[in-house]
């Protein structure tokens, strides 16, 4: 494919898909190890009341109020989940279950009880996003990457998710050591002065922001898949957290690129006529990578199981 075709039509969706995948996979590594990986699922449900409230307040369906509403709802949800988990001393999964079903129900109730029901909330859009439509029509080829006028026409999702990825990466890099120690041994972490409660909250809030930014660009399917599949697959390839993170980034990238390409061309290769959803295909690819890692990965045995004896 030539640059004239690739840059306007495929470069931006590829980058957005990849950035979204990595932004979710990075905090996903810690969430999987902390048995909090379902937070991605929880967040994609709780954004509903946030979006409805944002619509009620502003009266428009524009991106920024919706995203702020979604982010606000996600933050409220993770704070509630952490609070219930710590005060009630229960499993994180149980706390998530209580919070996200309640908030999702509140969102549906709000939707039905107010005149927002006239607004069309597209389920398919929420699930799969619209990655294929995030094209860059102002671009004419690779040279457009240096053309300020053309760059102004980039889909706004790209700088948003890029900025989110920078933030998530900075957080992971800066708090790497305390994150690792408190994920492994929270009691010890507290005795050396790490504020584990604040750090745990910061981690889930970072995850929530990544989820909302990705959700806006690529839909909830990728968010849910990327929090779990790349980190879980990476865990089965290595016994070192540093290496696991590197693998998870590689797997997230591989899922995004291969999923996007296969969604566009796979059906044609198989003799079909239409392309399939890129987001759905990206999630499928991450699932296939996980399945392969679970079958062939060198570190897939539950090592803890036989040492206790």
């Amino acid at each position: 494919m030539s640059g004239e075709e690739f840059v306007p039509l495929s470069l931006t969706p590829l980058l957005i898909g990849t950035f979204a995948a990595i932004a979710c996979a990075l905090p996903g590594n810690f969430l999987v190890l902390r048995k909090q990986a379902l937070i991605g699922d929880a967040i994609s449900h709780v954004v509903l009341p946030g979006i409805v409230v944002a619509f009620l307040v502003t009266g428009t369906i524009s991106t920024w109020p919706m995203m702020l509403g979604a982010a606000g709802a996600a933050v409220v949800a993770v704070v509630l989940i952490e609070a219930i988990r710590r005060l009630g001393q229960i499993e994180p999964g149980a706390a998530m279950g209580v919070v996200f079903t309640t908030m999702f129900a509140a969102g549906v109730l709000l939707l039905e009880q107010t005149d927002t029901s006239t607004v069309h909330l597209d389920v398919e859009h929420a699930l799969y996003g619209n990655l294929e439509s995030l094209i860059w029509l102002d671009a004419t080829g690779w040279s457009s990457l240096l053309d300020i006028e053309a760059l102004a026409g980039l889909p706004p999702e790209l700088p948003r998710i890029a900025l989110t990825l920078v933030g998530v990466t900075l957080f992971t890099w800066l708090f790497w050591r305390p994150l690792k120690i408190s994920t492994f041994d929270e009691g010890f972490a507290r005795t050396i002065g790490i504020r584990t409660g604040v750090l745990g909250m910061a981690l889930v809030i970072t995850a929530a922001i990544a989820a909302v930014a990705a959700f806006d660009a690529v839909g909830s399917i990728i968010v849910i898949a990327m929090f779990i599949c790349p980190p879980a697959a990476a865990r089965m390839l290595t016994n070192r957290l540093e290496t696991q993170i590197a693998w998870s980034v590689l797997f997230a990238t591989a899922s995004a690129v291969s999923g996007y390409v296969l969604a566009g061309y796979g059906p044609l290769w198989l003799g079909g006529a239409d392309a399939v959803s890129a987001a759905g295909m990206i999630a499928t690819m991450s699932g296939l990578i996980l399945a392969a890692a679970a079958t062939f990965g060198p570190c897939r045995a539950r090592i803890g199981a036989h040492t206790s004896a």
Partner: protein, 267 residues
Amino acid sequence: MLDLISNEGVTVGDQGLAESPLAVRGLTVSYGQKPAVFSVDMTVQPGAMTAIIGPNGAGKSTLLKAALGIVSPLSGQVTVFGQPLEKQRARIAYVPQRASVDWDFPTRVIDVVLMGLSRELGLLGRVRARHKACAMDCLNRVGMRDFADRQIGQLSGGQQQRVFLARALAQGADLYLLDEPFAGVDAATEKAIIAVLKSLKEAGKTVVVVHHDLATVTDYFDHVFLINTRKVAEGPVAESFTAETLQSAYGGRLATAQIDQLSRAQG
């Protein structure tokens, strides 16, 4: 308790507070309706090895965790070397119960020991050769040098416990608090751990151990702290580890025959 109330006692008590590596006053901790630890005073003797003893669910681990700020007490004061806990964190090393962490965590033995140096390393400080050498030295002291590159899940329970002890050694603390370090470990590990703890004591460090094996108390420790939600007794083993204090801590749960045997063993 009584002599704390008399005038003389107050002075003695306060001096003890200032010098004690770990002093706890009026500590109450509750996880729900019932308190796990109720109004406990404890003054750990400097340079001694103290065992915290009591029946299951008596609040031994909770006392330690509350003293370290891992769980929040309902009330009470903790001082470490005469100062608030937060100012003295660098002088404390804590060895949690082995079962409290997930040993499937993707990390190597040496990385766990290096966690003991994290105050020195700070947020972004690089692990240098001298840090690695220090960690290897600590592993050597617990006889685990050859296991440095193993994944922690591949170790036996006793080996895991020794790695935890090596991490505490790397902290270079003055006060060592260990939660059930002998629970479910092999005899070789128990010997290795007690040898390290005795060497710490000889170096003038203070060691406090939550302990469950009454038969080894007189061999291993010089001080005991008996607890059953409330404090039962505190003092040198010869004075405070007696048939009466044990009966009062364990109640009917400890057979009289066992107590007789124990008091014969120490008498």
